[in-house]
């Protein structure tokens, strides 16, 4: 098994660990650590829970009654489809050596998980666990995009879109940032997926929302959410599961994981209060949907920063994310008129960008962080520039490829359901079911 990969992975996502290995059993020769393995098994379960039922409920509660099952179905089906694609080829494309193309994408050596056996290790944990943990990331990222597609996209087209996107966008970006590609070499700090997961999903969502067009009746008919308790459950399960997402990205049960968990909690609390507070101030009432959205915005923004920043960073990132995402979702979206129904763009792309950039500032030791990327010079400005490069490249690459995929699919099969199906609702029209009578 290629050690290169393991080295890259480990160094990318837990750079911090190296700086703080005092007092920890550091694996000089690869050796399984049962504690690290226990935490990563748990984290994997937590991250899966984020998509099903977490995201399915969070998104599902916000659509109209006639589309809630289709929403749940899209999340569930994405979880299943990505499982198969990741096993087949995604993992290999993201985390193996890509030879000549290694700067951009991995190879096919581990297609169908070739070579992962009982004894394969990845750092101090079994490779099977590392692979499954990463699989849950490959599941949730396309699932986040669904928030932009709701109430109008064909189920078949959605499966094709997200399937292709995961191979053509997610896997390469994951490789570039985490799997040994050029952004990693450049020293981009992305602890748990600010660029790879959130900006990536948010931009794809925006493009898709623009290409699909607005829902029928938007702006003229009220579109009340089917059940905000579902949304609250979803937001809460996302929060809980995010501990696996962020603290799990330490790939070990150590001080980095602990700090990642602590800053995640703090940034989230601050962001939720920020969204609630600004809403209360400017619109007169604090809402549950606002507070839940704020929490998710905080979770998103702290994601790239989690293992790198300290308490000050957590506080500022949470605050800025809560306010900025509120502004995007509530003021900018209606202004620009795109129908990113559940704000995949407004929360994930915006929150992810804020987090990615602020990571470049607050990872500085002087600001309470664990230190800027060792690959970079030692100034904050340099790191900020590297971060911006990572963000910018992701946005451009993602936007272009997403556009092409959707164009092709539109030509091949059409993206949108018929007007009648949209009126009737996707639950009955596409799935022959309804939430309740």
């Amino acid at each position: 098994m290629g050690n290169a990969k393991k080295f890259f992975v480990t160094s990318a996502v837990s750079m911090a660990m190296f700086l703080s290995s005092a007092g920890m059993a550091f694996a000089e020769e690869a050796k399984l650590d049962s504690g690290d393995t226990a935490w990563m098994l748990t984290s994997t379960a937590l991250v899966l829970m984020m998509t099903i039922p977490g995201l399915a409920m969070f998104y599902g509660g916000m659509v109209r009654k006639k589309n809630v099952l289709s929403m749940a179905m899209q999340n569930f089906a994405t979880a299943c489809l990505m499982t198969v694609l990741w096993m087949a080829i995604g993992y290999s494309l993201a985390f193996t050596d890509g030879g000549d193309l290694n700067a951009f994408v991995g190879g096919v050596d581990q297609a169908f998980l070739r070579g992962i056996g009982l004894n394969s290790l990845s750092g101090t944990i079994p490779e099977s666990v590392f692979m499954t943990f990463q699989m849950t990331f490959a599941i949730i990222t396309p699932a986040l995009i669904i928030g932009s597609l709701v109430e109008r996209m064909k189920f078949s087209a959605m499966l094709w879109f997200l399937g292709l996107w995961s191979l053509l966008v997610y896997a390469p970006i994951a490789h570039m940032v985490w799997g040994g590609g050029w952004l990693m070499g450049d020293g981009v700090q992305d602890f748990a997926g600010g660029t790879v997961v959130h900006i990536n999903a948010g931009i794809a969502g925006l493009i898709a929302a623009l290409m699909l067009g607005r829902r029928k009746g938007l702006g003229t008919q009220p579109m009340p959410p089917v059940n905000l308790a579902y949304t609250m459950i979803g937001a809460a399960l996302l929060w809980v599961g995010w501990f696996g997402f962020n603290a799990g990205s330490a790939l070990a049960a150590n001080g980095t994981a602990g700090m990642a968990m602590a800053v995640t909690q703090i940034a989230t609390g601050v962001a939720a209060l920020a969204w609630m507070g600004i809403e209360w101030a400017v619109r007169g009432k604090p809402t549950l949907l606002g507070m839940s959205s704020g929490a998710v915005a905080g979770l998103v923004a702290i994601t790239p920063a989690a293992g790198f920043v300290g308490m000050p960073g957590a506080f500022v990132i949470g605050l800025v994310a809560g306010l900025a995402c509120f502004w995007t979702a509530v003021y900018m979206k209606p202004l620009l008129g795109y129908d990113d129904a559940l704000d995949a763009f407004g929360v994930h792309a915006v929150g992810g960008t804020i987090g990615a950039l602020l990571t470049g500032i607050f990872s500085a030791v002087i600001l309470g962080g664990v230190g800027l990327s060792t690959h970079a010079g030692h100034s904050i400005l340099v790191q900020l520039w590297i971060q911006a490069k990572g963000v910018g490249f992701t946005i451009v690459y993602d936007a272009i490829v997403t556009f092409i995929i959707l164009k092709v699919l539109d030509w091949a099969m059409g993206l949108r359901v018929s007007e009648d199906d949209e009126s009737e609702g996707l639950d009955i029209a596409l799935h022959g079911e309804q939430l309740y009578e």
């Binding site: 916000m62 009340p224 619109r283 809402t287 606002g290 509530v330 003021y331």
Partner: protein
């Protein structure tokens, strides 16, 4: 016989029912409806996108009574459902030609 159809505020239902009991009213049928009228709807806020709800929750009472009872019943509903604030609702009266009690087959005012 007359059919009284009253649209009232939901939280007044129990009071109305209590006001009718002493009049010997032994049955009525109630449904949840949405009312559109002079009363302004509440504003609901979803992700900051405020929208005004034009339809307000109301309760509709349908009640068939003998002609002799009509006046007292209408009066009782009017009084007990009254708050004086906009949106209190309406009482409509129309004619019923016949009534049957399914259990016994009784007809006319026996059936009420």
């Amino acid at each position: 016989m007359k059919l009284i159809m009253a649209i009232i505020k939901p939280f007044k239902l129990d009071e109305v029912r209590e006001a009718l009991t002493p009049l010997g009213i032994q049955g009525m049928t109630v449904s949840e409806v949405k009312g559109f009228g002079r009363q302004k709807g509440q504003t609901e806020i979803y992700r900051g996108a405020e929208y005004e709800v034009n339809f307000l929750p109301k309760v509709k009472i349908e009640l068939v009574v003998g002609n002799d009872q009509l006046e007292r019943v209408v009066e009782a509903i009017k009084t007990s459902a009254h708050t004086g604030k906009i949106g209190d609702g309406k009482i409509f009266v129309s004619d019923i030609e016949s009534a049957v009690r399914i259990r016994t087959g009784e007809t006319g005012s026996e059936a009420l």
